[in-house]
Amino acid sequence: MNARALDRAFHAAAWGALGLVLAATALVVGPLAARGAPHLTWRFLAGRPSADLADGGVLPAIVGTAVCTLLMTVAVLPLGVGTAVFLSEYAPSRSRAARVVRASLRNLAAVPSVVFGLFGLGFFVLGVGRGLDRLLYPALGPVFGRPCVLWSAATLAALTLPVVAVTAEESLRAIPRAQREAAAALGATRAEVVLRVALPQARGGILTGAILAVGRGAGEVAPILFTGVASFAPDPPTDVRDMFMHLAHHVHVLATQAHDLDAARPALEASALTLFLVTLGLNVVALVARDRTRGGRP
């Protein structure tokens, strides 16, 4: 094949493939937005679901998603940032400790989400939960030893730990050594260097990591399926031991168990759009924050 023909074929294939990917995006997002938007009314967003889920709103699902991801963030941020601080400030780069921790983060990132669901059910709900019950409520029926938003949040925290730790470490490493050395030269302890110099500057990256984690937590169904989500819980969770509704799970329930799919389709499409907008919004914010701290490298 002569050079000119090869060139033409290459251009065609490459542009064609890119066009295909962009078209696929348009074909997925377009109908999602177009069909869901008309039903995205205030009544839908702020209302409670009706019995057959087709009418009524998704407020409990939105609140449930928010509560779950908030709890997850409270759990994962300290742990993730602490691990990142360890990797970038305390452990020498090639040391065994650093390698073990990095390998752990990579392995954790590789675990499929459904295996986290298995782990969450067996370890948190039936293990830690039952243990807490024996300690605190020995004579009663299960209080902690059953699915609730606390355990779903814990399971999601394990799932998103790598994201937070890796982005935080990246942003800590991006801070020039000179700053740390200057602070040390002025007599600051290691802790003060980290707390007063490094962490404040790494705020952007940490925020990015948190937002990416929240985006992931809002979209995953498998980890929460057996650890706390309910198909119908019209009162939003006000206690960590409550079960909760979740937007992504709600989409799944509507798609597979709605009594009358034609009647439920508007609610389904609006829920899917809401979910997408939430995760999209979070990812966009994270992208912008990341670009700003990186200096705009596209």
């Binding site: 060139d7 459904v114 498998a222």
Partner: protein, 304 residues
């Protein structure tokens, strides 16, 4: 230095070490816990089928997964084949398109256009998998049936198409990074020798980026194997053993766990087998990740 500052320094260091230890503890406990719950399935117990029944064919060479009934059957071969089939099909669909699109993104798209093209690709990555599953169940299934006239509306191909949608943005992003990491001098040298754009990309850039791209494909395969919601909704979930037929239904390891975990009794054989499936998934994706790292490490060692 005041004793308070010293205490704070020490406490902070301890806290950092504690966090790192908890991270390691996290992955170790996932591994240990899932493994421990899976062990009973590998040991011969009275009243439960022998461990060899997990993979060996039953009567009449049947590999049957029928966990509920008078005589439950727990052969995992159809499930493993189902997972591999869907993931392989998804990769077959996504890899060529993804790598070619990455070539376009890295070499053909102008810097200005790149500013909006890349986010649009990442937009697809932001679509939650339940939504892709619903899309596969309704739209993709209809298209595939119209295109192939297949008998089963929900089948491995439909699920694979949905999973391909999920992993393509990953492949594009990672391959694009790999291609852009090829040193400019190498490419400019080739141009200086009179090579055309296609020759530079196909003959210089792609081979140079090959380890990283291969690693990306391995990671994408791991993600495809671990995908749960799309296959749960769109694959038909029938434990059929037809490895060479893309239009037959399939039942994956992940969908089986998600569908059956709720009803298993503590200490039952069924539960242990489900945890065993989880352990297999865990170890499998870990192995894929390790392979990806080794590929990259070997390549960078060769270069230095």
């Amino acid at each position: 230095m005041s004793p308070r500052r010293r205490l704070l320094d020490r406490a902070f260091a301890a806290a950092a070490w504690l966090c790192a230890a908890l991270t390691v503890g996290c992955v170790v406990s996932v591994f240990a816990f899932v493994g421990r719950e899976a062990l009973p399935a590998l040991v011969a117990r009275p009243g439960a089928p022998p461990p060899r029944a997990l993979v060996a064919p039953g009567l009449g060479s049947a590999f049957t997964w029928q966990p509920v009934g008078r005589r439950p059957k727990f052969n995992v071969v159809p499930l493993a084949v189902g997972s591999a089939k869907v993931a392989a099909l998804a990769l077959a669909l996504a890899a060529p398109v993804g790598v070619a699109a990455a070539c376009a993104l890295a070499f053909l798209v102008s810097r200005r256009a790149r500013r909006w093209v890349k986010p649009v690709v990442e937009l697809l990555a932001g679509v939650p998998s339940v939504v892709l599953g619903y899309l596969a169940l309704t739209v993709l299934a209809a298209w595939v049936q119209a295109l192939t006239g297949c008998r089963y509306r929900l089948n491995a191909l439909v699920a694979a198409a949905g999973v391909a949608l999920a992993i393509t943005p990953w492949i594009v992003t990672l391959a694009d990074e790999a291609l852009r990491a090829v040193p400019r001098e190498t490419l400019e040298g080739a141009y200086a020798l009179g090579a055309s754009r296609a020759q530079v990309v196909l003959g210089v850039a792609l081979p140079a980026a090959r380890p990283a791209i291969l690693a990306a494909l391995l990671l994408a395969f791991g993600r495809a194997v671990g995908e749960t919601m799309i296959v749960l909704m769109a694959s038909g979930n029938a434990p059929v053993l037809r490895p060479l037929d893309p239009t037959a239904s399939a039942r994956t390891l992940t969908a089986t766990i998600a569908a059956e975990l709720g009803e298993v009794a503590d200490g039952s054989h069924h539960r242990a087998v489900l945890f065993l499936l989880g352990a297999v998934l865990f170890v499998g994706t870990l192995a894929l990740n390790l392979a990806a790292e080794r590929v990259v490490a070997r390549a960078s060692r060769r270069e230095s």
